[in-house]
Amino acid sequence: MLVGDIETTLTPQEVEYARKQLGREPNALEWSMIDAEWSEHCSYKSSKPIIAQLPTKSPRVLLGPGYDSGVVDIGDGYVLTFHIESHNHPSAIDPYGGAATGIGGVVRDILCMGTTPIAFMDALKFGDITKSDHSKWIMKNVIRGIADYGNCIGVPTVAGEIEFDDCFERNCLVDVACLGLGRKDKLLLAEATHPGDSVILIGGSTGRDGIHGATFASRTLAADTEQERSAVQIPDPFTKKLIIEATLEASESGIVRGCKDLGGGGLTTGLSEIADKGATGLQVYLEEIPIREPDMSPIEIMISESQERMLLVVKQGQEDVLRDIMQKYGVAYARIAEVNATGIIAVTRFGKPIANLPTSFVANAPIIQRKARAPTAQRAGYEHEQPKNLEKVLLDLLCSPTISSKGWVFRQYDHEVGIRTVAKPGQADAAVLSLPNGKLAAIKVDGNALFCDLDPYVGGASVLAECCRNLVAVGAEPVALLDHCQFGDPNDKEIFWAFSMAVKGIADFARVISVPCIGGKVSFYNQDEVTGKAIKSSPVIAVVGLVEKLEHVTKMAFREGETVVVVGRTKREVDGSEYYRSMGARGRSPPSLDFDHEKRTQAGVLDCIRDGYVTACHDCAKGGLGVALAEMAIAGAKGASLDLRSVVADEMRDDELLFSESNSRFILTTNKPDHLVSRLTERGIPAAVAGTVGGSELHLILRDRELRCDLTTMQDAYLNSLQRILEPWQK
């Protein structure tokens, strides 16, 4: 609403609350600061009560949600930091700049904990690129943006996930997660705790780009994007690289007490949050802030979201040491504030006070209790004749953008820099990176909009289950998760219901599997204002896990002569599957998830991997058994001859057996099939030998037919599909 002369996103209730708390009318600058900090994007005012359900503690967790990144203790004095960010709204109108600056944003959160960024993951959702030129344009530019930025700063992008669906046509989702590595004794917090310390702004200058970025992300996209133009942010990875080097050196030197990244809401949120966390106040000297255009107003300065800026809280008296480090790297710096004990953020310009707000007031938006209502619309089941040619169905699924190999994407990402990437993209279910203490970190990101759309509770839990399965498949024990909840307009009661249920599903399963949440993001308003169409519920989960030693790392390639074992029970659960999507169908409800059974299955498979019984492992997910087996064959360039009638399964048609997406299933290969099967079955985990690896075709014996798919044909479908769709003219 309009407050005085200022256009804000504040509700009348928030305006009323602000006036009451302050006991006076805030001025224009103060209203702008409140608006920026209280935007949904920065304050989580709608979502805090819901995300409070997530479990956040475990013996390994040093810091949970509420900090720039979550922190996990991995022993020997080392820690991992983990964070996820999104740039959905900017990427929808400037996919290159939006995605690139998304990378820039998430890396700052890792950096300001005093840790070194060592890997990225990207979780992306686009419209149907087989039909839409617009989505092709968005996708190509998003990938190029992530590549240019990540490659330039020298942090490998090692894993990711891309989903394609009509609902993302005008509202693409661009999520980037970052993993950091550091020393426990060098951890920094984004807190200004000591009066007398200086707050130094380093990096780029403050300009008019990115004004209203946070509030931009807290509204739906308007048809006329003219207004949106000032929300565009220019990526500058070269400056970021210099900032990374300078910040790490400053942090090593011990002169930095805290570090805060400037993202949504710019200086307003950065300054108020460090003071609020440190329970202190700040005296801010507006004239000290380096600005790009001489006629910028105080409002523009305080809410600008110009990129590549960070705040360093430097110990009193150590400002010269900082200056020397910044000068070495050519990073601009300015002392813009001083920490005091007032509990107030006071902004002056050449001595004249222009804003005066209690830090805890501005940093803590009043919670909005939103209403939720379950949808009443009934969904129809889907009846269809079994297609005659199941080889064709399998090949079509292997070609489909969501399932097909993402080689076209990850070959544009430098995934080797840092010389840690032991399991590279396309080789295994998760990325695996070596750590200095002999252990390895495994990371993966997953989402499933089809499942979550049908049932957000089961869907949310299933996404977490799948992500953990992917970690187990490489020999890792899941340790902590990040959740990224992406939904439409929270004012819509059904959308808010879906959000609440998804978080509940994630929280309930996280508790059962003992994987706490150490951070995350909520991104609302992902809907097209013109059509009113919201995206499907899209919670995305990233999980980090630990592999005890290099020998445990397991990849997915089939190898000659090994025995294939299918673990888990396949149920008649084709609803919500990629198979159904390929037929334009949805179904009624997603595959069920038995929390305890999933937990037991994962633990059982991990033990077998650690004990050396498993030579290759792949989890069964999108595309079911058929696709999973094909992927292992393609990875190893080896066929297999398998009798799927031996797979533990309910009674069902051949197509259902092949493409059902039941949870809690893995495909393993082994040289000790008897040991493996008995180890699993004695723990109540269904397992059955299916056959042997060999030959140049995937030969599957089903209940009513035999399927034979030639390896070269499958490879061509799977490996070359994206190239054909996006760049048909390239050889």
Binding site: W137, T225, R229, R292, G330
Partner: protein, 88 residues
């Protein structure tokens, strides 16, 4: 038959937006090598296009329309500078 016009299209970041490449070139190459008199550098991409049109205005309109339709530049982030060379 319509005459052919030479049209030069320069795509660069919008004037108000930063140009990190230009900044690096002036700071780390030119000024460090003693060319202090250079005050600003902005970079862009040049397309030299030959197009058939009825007159200069038509040539310009055709090229601008094409650049918009094919997203040769993104108006959200870039500005388009179009120069039609006089007909020979």
């Amino acid at each position: 038959m319509n005459p052919t016009f030479s049209v030069e299209v320069v795509i660069s970041n919008k004037p108000r937006a930063r140009d990190p490449e230009g900044e690096t070139i002036i700071r780390d190459l030119m000024h460090k090598s003693g060319f202090e008199s250079v005050k600003e550098v902005r970079t862009g991409k040049l397309l030299s296009i030959k197009v058939e049109a009825t007159d200069e205005a038509d040539a310009r309109n055709k090229v601008v329309a094409m650049c918009n339709d094919l997203r040769i530049y993104n108006p959200v982030a870039h500005s388009l500078n179009v120069r039609v060379r006089p007909e020979n």
